[in-house]
């Protein structure tokens, strides 16, 4: 085969593969990409730029944050990313003169870039580097463009260029600029005299070694010494946990240049040899991407459910909870359970359907302890009327992980609910400067100083009454669910939403003493409603507790025991029947362990409070 034809074929294959990568990325990760965009922020002002550039590599991060905005439309964001990858592949072919099958090696860098992106998983909640999703892509693209421009510089001009690129590059791109320095320096190999090549490469290494020290001593006074050689790179440390596995994709990105540089020097290899080598390396690349792709079903469900909640699409939250098409079904995390309960609560179906969905407390699959405060705390607190705690965690996370659109949105909403109008205005004004969230901000701006408008708004209607309770000094110790369970289950409220939450939380806590007065209050508050009936799960709890403590004085019928009162409460026949069936089945399964029973009972009784009460134990709330 003619070399130019094979170059064309492998270049085209590379191009097609990048397009396929984009399609797969979009189809599998669009919800995550949208969320990543929500966790980023770009404001087109002097101040934002200046704040971004107080660290080396800040300008790259700033530009990447700009590009990240476009994931508001995941299709557009992916298209731009794929466009950048295509450019990178083209530049690799051109700059390194990859001919014949070697042209296929141009796929290696986009593959590594894809791996950097799709491995992130729960780290999206902890990433401090603004615009990190675009950082490696932009950095590589800029390095290749510089290399392209520098190809024709020779001898001392190359050294001047090296100095220029290293100096400004480090300030603007951090350590990514060193790739540029290395690429420019290695261009001299084979083109210059050996002594000049050694001088150029030695000078490049000296620059890489010493320049950050110069910056440290004289320019950057906010960068720790050990971070000098990591400037512009994402940090994969949280508290005292180091997560080296996240760096593998970045190592792969660096290593991807090795076969490419090698190919540049082996232009004359046979088609077969170059073809086999290319296929081997690309295969390795594909294997690496598949290996690093974070496919955890619960993570993707959590992200999708959160996006749906923020769109007030409660039905979609429930559909996602049951969706089998998103990957292997596994027990849900507490975050998913809380999202599901919130959706049912908003739809007014929690009392009838709460246990119709999977229950569990699966830990998030991550190499560190993922906290609900970071993943879902703000959303949950906001929706349950705990606005000060929502605001607090926005502030804490904004300080620790950087400001984001999502945090500003919750700060706006929680400040509106607490009528902290002026600070809400501050955040609204910030969001109004963004490209894609101006409309959102203008919508919420209409509520400023207008509590009455908020009372009419579907989103605020259930939240406002739940946010009205007496002030006290408190703390959640970062345990969001436990805090809510404890405060609601011990709370009292005249509002229907609030009151029902106290009942639900008493049930989840399996606290009989707390349950009865809240059950009674629920009946009193609702009994005059047309077509009133006590939801099934509340009936099940009342029936079960009456049976469990027959001699306890009844709260529903003072002067009677529960046993006697049982006859007066008009339980649905099905509630009684299912309890009876449950107990009969329990006798049949007498010798089973609790774990065996959990599996055996689930098909018949998984949707009952009885199952939850007896068999869902030791769930780790957090």
């Amino acid at each position: 085969m003619n070399k130019s034809i094979s170059t064309l074929i492998f270049s085209l294959l590379s191009l097609i593969a990048i397009l396929v990568m984009g399609i797969v990325l979009y189809s599998r990760e669009s919800e995550v990409l949208f969320r990543i965009q929500e966790f980023s922020l770009f404001i087109p002002t002097h101040h934002f730029y200046e704040t971004s550039t107080i660290y080396p590599g800040g300008a790259l991060s700033w530009a990447s944050a700009y590009m990240t905005q476009f994931f508001f439309h995941p299709g557009l964001g992916v298209s731009l990313l794929v466009g950048a990858w295509l450019l990178i592949a083209g530049l690799l072919i051109w700059n390194f003169r990859l001919q014949g099958p070697w042209a296929g090696l141009s796929l290696l860098v986009p593959l590594a870039l894809l791996a950097c992106l799709v491995q992130t998983g729960y780290w999206i909640y902890y990433m401090k580097l603004q615009g990190y999703i675009w950082v490696p892509t932009l950095a590589i693209l800029i390095c290749l463009v510089i290399q392209l421009r520098a190809r024709h510089a020779h001898s001392w001009r190359r050294c001047v260029l090296l100095t220029f690129v290293a100096f400004f590059g480090y300030a603007l791109m951090g350590v990514w600029s060193f790739l540029s320095v290395l690429l420019i320096a290695t261009e001299s190999i084979g083109k210059e005299k050996k002594s000049m090549t050694i001088l150029t490469c030695g000078y490049a290494l000296l620059l890489i070694l010493l320049l950050p020290q110069v910056f440290y001593q004289w320019i950057y006074c906010q960068t720790e010494w050990s971070q000098l050689y990591l400037a512009g790179m994402p940090c994969f440390q949280y508290s005292h946990t180091d997560m080296p596995e996240y760096r593998y994709a970045y190592y792969a990105l660096a290593l991807a240049f090795v076969p490419i540089v090698y190919a540049q020097w082996k232009q004359e290899s046979s088609l077969f040899a170059s073809g086999v080598t290319t296929i081997f390396f690309v295969g390795m690349g594909v294997f690496g991407v598949c290996n690093r792709w974070y496919t955890d079903t619960n993570f993707h469900k959590e992200v999708k459910m959160a996006n749906s909640i923020e769109r007030l699409d409660w039905e979609d939250v429930l559909r996602t909870s049951l969706d089998n098409s998103m990957g292997d079904m596994m027990p849900p995390t507490r975050v998913m359970v809380m999202y599901k309960n919130l959706a049912l609560f908003r739809l007014g179906r929690v009392g009838d359907e709460m246990f119709h969905y999977p229950e569990g407390s699966e830990q998030q699959h991550a190499p560190w302890e993922v906290k609900i405060t970071q993943v879902a705390g703000k959303l949950i607190y906001y929706n349950y009327g705990k606005e000060q705690f929502c605001y607090r965690w926005c502030m804490e996370d904004g300080v620790e992980f950087g400001w984001s659109v999502n945090l500003l949105k919750y700060m706006i909403k929680s400040s509106l609910v607490t009528q902290d109008w002026e600070v809400a205005r501050k955040y609204i004004n910030l969001l109004k400067k963004t490209r894609y969230h101006r409309q959102w901000a203008e919508h919420y701006e209409t509520f400023l100083y207008h509590r009455e408008k908020m009372e009419e708004e579907e989103e605020f209607k259930p939240i406002l009454p739940m946010s009205e309770f007496p002030d006290r000094l408190d703390g959640d110790m970062t345990l969001v669910e436990m805090y809510l369970l404890k405060t609601f289950s011990s709370g009292h409220g005249a509002d229907k939403y609030y009151q029902e939450m106290t009942l639900i939380c008493a049930m989840i806590m399996k606290d009989i003493d707390l349950f009865w007065p809240r059950f009674q209050q629920y009946v009193v508050m609702h009994q005059n409603e047309p077509n009133f009936r006590v939801p099934t799960h509340y009936q099940e709890a009342a029936y079960l507790y009456s049976v469990l403590e027959p001699q306890r004085p009844s709260i529903m019928w003072p002067g009677m025991t529960n046993e006697k009162a049982l006859e007066r409460i008009p339980f649905d026949p099905q509630v009684k029947q299912r309890y009876s069936d449950f107990m009969n089945f329990n006798q049949q399964c007498g010798s089973m362990t609790d774990e065996q029973k959990k599996t055996a009972f689930y098909p018949q009784f998984g949707d009952t409070f009885y199952y939850f009460y007896f068999l869902m134990r030791n769930q780790k709330t957090n």
Partner: protein, 489 residues
């Protein structure tokens, strides 16, 4: 051809010159809404230009600043006078604002910026910190040239922090406005108190076991190499509903003196039931003012901790102002004297600071507690020390928080923290005081970009005047902080 080019270039330059005022307009009887609010404020001659943003909606804006002899016109919603223009405006400045809506121009009511002859110290320093509760990340102690917008970092924590070992920095203070004699604290990684004194830099570990802990809130003796501190055991809890968001309390706090030369901590009397805090020297160094609250545990606590009890009683803990005489020869303090019994008025007074001429005592007052920066009712009060007469400083107070304050070296300016902009982020405001103790309307620290403070997600903490900039570089501080500390005796 060249001539045509030059002519076109000159025409272009002319076109970029000052905007002309509209010839036809309607007059409006109200001043324009501008941010920051600089309407009728009094400023020192040597302050940087007051830039502002016009909040009123319009299609076009023209503003003119004039002092009778010079005038400058600006187009656009952001009015940003150049420093050289501003310096030429030596007298009181009249500000005219014209706003076009559609075809119609409106001239809003002219307002004044009064230029006082009293100069202000050229520098201030402050800590920039996000108003978070538990977490912190990027903390900087900064200095700002008041005559320009130049802001430098004196020391930032990130230079000595990583993910595993964070570092908190706080409580910068100076001896008599002297930037060569300063101190600040470093907590956690490489913790200690950094003291710079005429070129000598030390990091001191003040935990001696003689006091509750290391020194916290500092007060340099005006002339001697001595620093008084309160030493505090501080906790915080969160409001579930109140806009005040957080309650910071001391469960124990005492006073101590640190001798810089001898590296020695000298405790004052340690009464666990008296919560002494925020020391401040009189300008002659003969008195140490401070605030103190008395808290005794209830007889029956059912085993509850002091911290828990104090959280329950947080609204009952009120601070009074006291002072003690100081004998320089023996370095000993006299008995405490009550200066203001705030608790008797159901108030809590903190942060006493005396004017350099010794005539005025300014302090912060709230309904309860010690950490008034989170108390929306906190206001500044003034006591005339010759008559003991007390009054709220109404001219400078707002409906929101006013808290930390410090006097300029000539006693004519006060810089103070206020959250009046949005209730959450602290901004420094400056007000003029005349020789009769009358305060002018305060103005917000001017910024290069008028909306800078609207965008800034950090608070200004402890604004302090300085006679010049701190010249020690952050890297020098960082290097000293990494080295071994000196253990105080």
């Amino acid at each position: 051809m060249k001539k045509i080019f030059y002519a076109a270039f000159i025409l272009f330059l002319t076109a970029c010159g000052e905007a002309s005022l509209p010839k036809e307009f309607e007059t409006f009887d109200q001043t324009a809404n501008i941010y920051p609010d600089y309407v009728d404020v009094t400023v020192p001659q040597n302050i940087a230009p007051l830039t502002f943003h016009i909040d009123d909606e319009g299609d076009e804006y023209i503003s003119r600043l004039s002092d009778g002899t010079s005038s400058f016109t600006y187009e656009g919603r952001d009015v940003c006078p150049e420093i050289r223009d501003w310096k030429r405006l030596k007298g009181n400045i009249s500000v005219e604002i014209y706003i076009r809506q559609g075809e119609k121009w409106t001239k809003t009511k002219t307002f004044q910026i009064y230029k006082s002859k009293d100069e202000i110290d050229p520098y201030i320093s402050y800590r920039l910190i996000a108003p978070s509760y538990v977490t912190y990340e990027d903390l900087t102690i900064c200095q700002r040239n008041l005559e320009s917008y130049e802001e430098d970092i004196i020391y930032g924590n990130m230079i000595n922090s990583d993910e595993k070992d964070g570092q908190c920095i706080n409580c910068h203070a100076y001896q008599n406005y002297n930037p060569d004699r300063m101190q600040f604290h470093v907590r956690q990684a490489h913790g200690g108190t950094v003291i710079a004194y005429d070129g000598v830099l030390e990091r001191i570990d003040m935990k001696t076991g003689k006091t509750v802990g290391a020194g916290v809130y500092p007060a340099w003796h005006p002339t001697e190499k001595l620093i008084a501190y309160s030493t505090n055991h501080t906790g915080q809890s969160f409001h579930t509903q109140s806009k005040e968001k957080i309650e910071v309390q001391d469960t124990y706090s005492d006073l101590m003196l640190y001798d810089i030369d001898r590296h020695e901590v000298i405790p004052l009397e340690n009464d666990t039931n008296d919560l002494d805090c925020f020391p401040s020297w009189s300008p002659d160094g003969k008195y140490l003012y401070y605030c103190s609250a008395h808290y005794e545990m209830p007889d029956s606590t059912n085993g509850l901790s002091r911290e828990y009890c104090m959280i329950s009683d947080y609204k009952e803990i009120r601070y009074n102002l006291y002072r003690r005489t100081f004998d320089l020869k023996t370095k000993s303090f006299g008995k405490r004297e009550l200066v203001y019994d705030a608790a008797a008025d159901s108030l809590s007074a903190t942060l006493p600071r005396i004017s350099p001429d010794g005539k005025w005592l300014m302090f912060t007052v709230g309904a309860y507690g010690v950490f008034h920066i989170w108390h929306t009712d906190a206001d500044l009060f003034l006591m005339d020390l010759s008559t003991q007469e007390i009054r709220p400083a109404q001219e400078i107070n707002s409906e929101n928080v006013e808290s930390y304050h410090s006097w300029s070296s000539n006693g004519r300016w006060i810089i103070f923290s206020s959250r009046r902009d949005d209730g959450n982020f602290t901004r420094p405001f400056i007000a003029h005081m005349d020789d009769k103790g009358r305060l002018s309307k305060p103005f917000e620290l001017p910024s290069k970009y008028p909306e800078y403070h609207r965008e800034l997600m950090r608070s200004y903490n402890i604004p302090e005047f300085m006679s010049g900039p701190v010249t020690i570089r952050p890297q020098e501080f960082a290097s000293k902080i990494r080295k071994d500390s000196i253990k105080a005796k």
